[in-house]
Amino acid sequence: MIFLRLFWEFFKIGLFAVGGGPATLPFLMDLAGKYDWYTLEDLADMVAVAESTPGPIGVNMATYAGFRAAGIPGGLAATLALVLPSVVIMILIAKFLGNFSENAMVKAVFSGVRPAVTALIATAIWGLFKVVLVTEEGKVAMGPLLLCVAVFVLMQIKPLKKLHPAVWMLAAAAVGMVFRL
């Protein structure tokens, strides 16, 4: 049954995605290969929507993925499953482990997990790059690539650093329509 599947898969994501929203991306990518809920191309759209809508990105992604898989109940199942481990773990920590983040063992575990998560997110993003920046015929998609490079460079300039991501996205939408990317 699809709702149980969704619930189980997103429960696992909630339990193992350490480091917030972007950390869910590698897992969502795995799901694209494992089920026919959504394709990698859909996932690129989903990231764009999740980034430009209010709310935590991880929650947005779960709702979207669940909706794609099984409509409104699907979105509900995926989102609740994603946050369930958080709720249980945080309540246990609040109740029993006052100085959890100061614990030497906890610190040690996460000093190992953190670089690995960076690698996983980098891998997932590499996958997204291949979807967005390469056309179906296997050629480089020049339009999106130029936009990506231009915005990346502009974002490194001090006064533009703080600019809201939605501003870049609006500008990109305009560029996309004007040049018919």
Binding site: L15, S86, A94, S111, F129
Partner: protein, 188 residues
């Protein structure tokens, strides 16, 4: 604990969830404004502690923070009410957008716009990875763990969960080894 308290928790986190873009660290100022300055539910130090915990526990950081603050205010029911408040705006907005998206996707102008947006999303993502790498790759051991995870993820069928768990075990083992070697210190 009263229904009114739970309702207030729900609404406060609903507002934070519905008005903040991004997530993770970009949400911190909003949390501070609502929870520290307006409601006086937690001190700024407590909020930062909470964020520190949220970053080294699984799950979405904003949700972890919501559960934590809600629990401190009104027990288990408070934690649940806050979390539900945090995710409600996402559920509503994303469902709405996702339903329209299916219809819009046939439109050629919308496709042009999305192609542009996805180019920018790539740039934003690249920025995220660089920020993460700067924060997490603080010494050679970290670089080695990152490289090992990268190779495993790209070229082997090792599941994502296994990579996370193995990296955690490695961190713990390194700490135990350091303790046995008696060199002390808690920095890896």
């Amino acid at each position: 604990m009263q229904w009114r308290d739970l309702g207030e928790l729900y609404l406060t986190f609903f507002r934070i969830g519905g008005l903040t873009f991004g997530g993770g660290l970009t949400m911190l100022p909003m949390f501070k404004h609502e929870l520290v300055l307006k409601k006086n539910w937690v001190s700024e130090d407590e909020l930062l502690d909470c964020y520190a915990i949220g970053q080294c526990t699984p799950g979405v950081i904003a949700v972890n923070t919501a559960t934590f603050v809600g629990y401190k205010r009104a027990g288990v029911a408070g934690g649940i009410a806050s979390t539900l408040g945090m995710i409600s705006p996402s559920l509503a907005l994303i469902t709405l957008i996702a339903s329209f998206f299916q219809a819009l996707v046939e439109n050629v102008w919308f496709q042009h716009a999305m192609t542009g947006i996805k180019g920018v999303v790539c740039a934003l993502m690249l920025n995220t990875v660089i920020t993460l790498a700067r924060k997490s790759l603080v010494n050679l051991v970290c670089v080695a763990v990152c490289a090992a995870a990268l190779v495993s993820a790209l070229f082997t069928p090792v599941p994502t969960i296994a990579i996370v768990v193995l990296a955690g075990l490695f961190g713990a083992a390194a700490e135990l080894w350091r303790r046995r070697a008696g060199r002390g210190g808690h920095k890896v």
